[in-house]
């Protein structure tokens, strides 16, 4: 809160703290970046020193040029994967929040159905997929279902927790004012669950991408999908390591972007009131 200008005399302790804070601010960006650059340089050197052929481990420069040369192929594949990812995330939000609201209506409903959600969550999706493959014909539906199963649980479980974590006195207040069940949900429980939901959403965002890619992988052997995962499989068969790396790079970049966007959304919604989004003030 203090305005630090040239005329303000700081004692050594405070000056040290200001220096420390400034260093940390810079370090937070510079350090990971430096390590990343060092790692890429080392990767390049290892390829050169050991004369590793490009179909085993391509140099970073080769990966980059592949990304550029194969851009048409790779980005159209990325679009396919993204479509599955976002659709499944959307369905996970609708399904997760919808089920959580249903569970919140009655302890009995929650007790009866929550175990099923857990079973769905703990069973590895790769093991379920062959069944989905038998029962579902449509390729997109298959992938969506797969990614949805992976992504919906964090939203469901977090939102359920949030809906049930309402201050007792606030509940009494609503009761005293004759609030209907719907009003209590709309004005009290849903807003109270928001931080929990957003936490679940951040996890689900990453999981829906993983779900989409894994589903494509499993479907790849049977299917005609054309997402990034099938490009990776294809490149693997052809020992096209540069394209494999380029596709991998795109997938992790997508994951990072999804995480950043969801973090930003969360910050914007919570910044005024929730502890997690507040800057420390002393």
């Amino acid at each position: 809160m203090t305005v630090i200008d040239g005329t303000l005399k700081l004692d050594p302790e405070e000056a040290r703290r200001v220096r420390q804070e400034r260093l940390e601010r810079i370090g937070r960006w510079v350090l990971p970046l430096a390590i990343m650059i060092l790692a890429i340089w080392l990767w390049d050197r290892i390829c050169v020193w050991n004369e590793i052929p490009r179909y085993i481990l391509p140099r970073p420069g080769v990966v980059l040029s592949t990304l550029y040369n194969d851009a048409g192929l790779l980005f159209s594949a990325l679009l396919v994967t993204l479509r599955i990812t976002f659709l499944s995330l959307l369905l996970a939000v609708v399904g997760g929040v919808g089920l959580a609201v249903l569970f919140a209506q009655s302890k009995w409903v929650e007790m009866s159905f929550f175990p099923f959600a857990i079973v769905l969550q703990v069973t590895p999706i790769v093991a379920i997929f062959p069944l989905i493959n038998i029962y579902v014909d449509n390729q997109t539906t298959k992938l969506l279902l797969c990614a949805w199963i992976v992504a919906f649980f964090p939203i469901l479980s977090n939102t359920t927790l949030g809906l049930n974590s309402v201050d007792r006195n606030l509940r009494d207040l609503f009761k005293l004012n004759g609030a209907t069940r719907w009003q209590q949900l709309r004005y009290l429980r849903l807003p109270a669950a928001m931080p929990y939901f957003l936490g679940g959403l951040k996890i689900a965002g990453g999981l829906s991408l993983i779900g989409a890619v894994v589903a494509e992988f499993v479907a790849g052997s049977t299917g005609q999908s054309s997402g990034l995962a099938s490009r990776i499989i294809e490149a693997g068969y052809r020992l096209n390591a540069p394209r494999l790396f380029a596709a991998l790079f795109l997938i992790s970049l997508t994951g990072i972007l999804i995480f950043l966007v969801l973090s930003l959304i969360s910050h914007l919604i919570l910044r005024r009131w929730h502890e997690s989004a507040l800057k420390q003030e002393r």
């Binding site: 207040l173 009761k175 005293l176 004012n177 009131w273 929730h274």
Partner: protein, 272 residues
């Protein structure tokens, strides 16, 4: 002690609520209240004073209708129950919606009755002015001090113009200077609007300063021990707070409270 006293400066008021033989036993076997008899009159500022565990908060929840008595009756104006719309409740914590602005928090009770923001605006703004919070409409609770949050809480309870205001140790967590200020403001509001207050506290000084009646409760089991009429005239201000009259009344109340606590200590051998 002077049970049926007409407080000076106030007309003999009609009964609003009578608790007759009210008891509350929780499912864990604890008797929170036993055979409580108490009459609350229209326009009373009645304090329930007692040590912790004497059931004063339980009594308040019963009056609010948040809980039902195990035995006995609550008799509103000689029959029937009071519409909840006529009750305002202030909790020990401010209990605000942390995501909502000050305006929206005060609007809430009206909103739950289906009154739109535009239609509620004049009532909300008037109430905010009454608790000296004009200009803070758009602040969220975390941007306010403890005292200001409590003011919002009071404004929210009063925005529906309830006939009865129930307060559960509302100022216990505040520092003394803030508490004095809020005491003064609450009295001012009460004198202007003439609603009935039931005020739970464990502070002798606060109860004597605010009330025209102090009901002292004892614990194990929770029960009414005695009642004091505080016959000082309103308006009470800072001068009253330092007057010999106030000191004498506090001493009187203190003695009764000590007796109430001793009566508890004498009857409890359970060794906890």
């Amino acid at each position: 002690m002077m049970r049926e006293q007409v407080v000076q400066g106030r007309a003999a008021a009609s009964d609003l609520l009578a608790l007759r033989g009210v008891g509350k036993v929780f499912s864990n076997g604890v008797t929170a209240l036993s055979d409580v008899g108490l009459t609350i009159r229209e326009g009373d500022f009645l304090s329930l004073l007692g040590p912790s565990g004497c059931g004063k908060s339980t009594a308040l929840r019963l009056i609010a209708g948040l809980s039902t008595p195990t035995s006995g009756v609550l008799d509103w104006r000689g029959g029937g129950s009071l519409d909840r719309a006529n009750i305002g409740f202030v909790f020990q914590e401010p209990t605000l919606l942390p995501w909502a602005s000050v305006f929206d928090n005060v609007w809430l009770p009206l909103r739950l009755k289906g009154i739109s923001r535009a239609n509620a605006a004049s009532a909300v703004n008037e109430m905010l002015a009454r608790v000296h919070l004009t200009g803070f409409e758009n602040a969220v609770p975390r941007e306010l001090s403890g005292g200001m949050k409590m003011r919002v809480s009071i404004a929210r309870a009063m925005v529906t113009k309830p006939r009865v205001l129930l307060m559960d140790e509302p100022f216990a967590a505040l520092d003394e200077i803030t508490r004095f200020k809020l005491n003064n403001d609450l009295l001012e509001l009460w004198q202007d609007e003439r609603f009935t207050v039931v005020f739970v506290t464990h502070s002798v000084f606060e109860s004597v300063f605010l009330s025209n009646r102090v009901v002292v409760m004892a614990a194990r089991p929770g029960r009414v021990f005695d009642e004091l009429a505080i016959e000082a005239s309103y308006s009470r201000d800072e001068a009253f707070r330092t007057s010999p009259d106030y000191a004498a009344l506090c001493r009187q109340a203190s003695d009764v409270l000590v007796n109430a606590i001793n009566s508890t200590a004498g009857s409890h051998h359970d060794g906890h």
